[in-house]
Subunit: 342 residues, 2 copies
């Protein structure tokens, strides 16, 4: 059977989008459109922005022109690396569905948005069914907060509790993220500005995904946003200042899920300034019979995020229409060529 | 749809079989037969041997009576916890297939026996197809040397090499295993008695499974059996003697696979006496873009082995007929009830 490259629109050409463009090229996909809202990238060649060795002949266009990009590109799929939440993503996903183009986003809420953005997700699901395309969310969490745990669950007789810890350096992603994590705030200000928020954190959605994957029904889910602190002063590069001992070095989101079936999932997601010796970490313990702890030290989060999405593309093209969260698909396969039947 | 318990024959009622019997009971399966060659267990109730709180009303019978057990039991599946290699397992697997009963074994070679026991496996495959049942191998390696790596491969852009290390205490499984691992031999005797063997070690088969799972074709596979040593004397409990410094404390099997697609898999499987501070370990690194290391400290190997097999049962009953190695199935799900449509 003859094959042709998968045709991709990359929407969002920042740090993640650039890795994505490189990975797509290396696996033989064809970039047929590129969209970014950053004025500095407008009109530039997507290959040059992604620092490939040669231009791709695809100019980056502004989101205002997105409709034209979709109309002209005849794409199989659009990869969205723009924002985190469903309200922020919905217009782009609708546009893709409107053009009958499959879409996959690394926006964290989209990984399992069925309860946190119920109405929006159901609307997108209907739209995608009616235009025969598939919408989904994936990324780091798809493997490291998701299928990695599911595969260990398959080797476990009885699960009473799943305890997850994921930690990243909140100083690595610029001052906006550092501020969003409350870095530098004294405890009272942190409690008022950050701790009082009830926006679901990333692991809220991934814990719901895990329940769906393991066949558990959520009975109760709750979240706390706590400051992380250190006993000595730490310097923030992104904020370019010293954070006094006892002030917030970042934020820890603790999400606890209780299920009708009994097992509890408690996940700690820490984004903070690192004290000497601290590194990125992803560690999960399945308690019950027997108990198993899996540790991934220093996961390369951005690269793992992009590789997972790229490996998901052939599955996405073959999936049933609708908003299909990846708990309903097999684990992402390791794909070497991004091709589809011609 | 009405459901009934899965009906199971447990063949092999030693350490592993006893855990299996307990796990089956806890998930609602019905034990309908038990076979063991150990004269001391003959005629005993399988539930009592497995130290359940009450007898199961199933007497353990000798392998000579296996045909009668199969004839009377009307089982859905037979779980085999007897021996390691295909020549040792073939008669039991044939008997199950002859009776049209699905079978799953923890015999390590059966995990992927297509090249190491080609003729036997193809014969069993034909037999199982003709009697419409499924035969397979599973156990610890199914997850920890298999799908755990496959799930990480799905988050990796490009794999150049997979490096695995798995370590167990060779003093924990009795004197026969300790001797088979050459514990106590001086280096020359080890080389002559153990190192010269060309029997495929466990990770030979699991590395071939991994290639099949990842879509790679084996170009070359080779194995070395090396002594492990320690700088000080260590005491062997199973052999009840002191092992001098520099003598073999156990065996390390190193299996290297080269593939036509490029990636190399190198696995070190160490079974040895532990020096102070050493524990069971399962650690794999995927090298390429990016690099990821996964660590499982102190895996509960026997329990994980049995839980994986038990979780595989519903899939096995639904699988196509033949010798179906688990590289062709989805990851083992986490199952809570062992039931089948009535």
């Amino acid at each position: 059977m003859s094959k042709r490259p998968i045709r991709v629109i990359q929407w969002g050409c920042g740090l993640m989008g650039q890795i994505m463009i490189r990975y797509l090229r290396d696996k033989g996909a064809e970039l047929v459109g590129a969209i970014d809202r950053n004025a500095a990238r407008r009109g530039l060649d997507a290959g040059e922005v992604a620092r490939l060795d040669r231009p791709l002949g695809v100019r980056i266009r502004h989101p205002e022109e997105a409709d034209a990009v979709f109309r002209e590109a005849r794409a199989d799929v659009c990869i969205l690396c723009t924002r985190s939440t469903m309200p922020e993503l919905v217009d782009s996903l609708k546009l893709a569905a409107h053009h009958g183009v499959n879409a996959i986003t690394i926006g964290e809420e989209a990984f399992y948005p069925w309860t946190t953005s119920k109405a929006l997700t159901e609307e997108l699901d209907r739209l995608a069914r009616s235009s025969d395309c598939t919408l989904t969310g994936s990324g780091f969490q798809d493997v490291f907060w998701g299928n990695l745990i599911a595969v260990l669950a398959g080797s476990t007789q009885r699960i009473t509790r799943i305890q997850g810890l994921t930690r990243y350096n909140a100083d690595d992603y610029g001052s906006a993220l550092a501020q969003k994590h409350g870095i530098g705030l004294d405890p009272e200000t942190f409690a008022a500005r950050i701790g009082a928020s009830n926006a679901p954190s990333y692991v809220w959605n991934s814990n719901e995904w895990l329940c769906a994957r393991l066949g558990w029904r959520v009975r109760d889910i709750r979240q706390q946003l706590l400051p992380t602190t250190h006993t000595e002063a730490l310097r923030s590069t992104s904020l370019d200042r010293e954070i006094p001992a006892g002030h917030a070095t970042g934020m820890k989101a603790v999400v606890v899920v209780e299920t009708h079936e009994g097992p509890v999932i408690e996940t700690h997601c820490e984004g903070k300034l690192y004290a000497p010796g601290e590194v990125d970490l992803n560690e999960w313990t399945l308690q019950g019979e027997p108990e198993t702890t899996v540790t991934i030290r220093k996961p390369a989060t951005p690269e793992l995020t992009c590789a997972t999405v790229v490996n998901r593309l052939p599955q996405l093209l073959a999936a049933p229409p609708g908003f299909i969260t990846t708990d309903r698909l097999d684990m992402a396969p390791h794909v070497t060529r991004l091709e589809v039947a011609a």
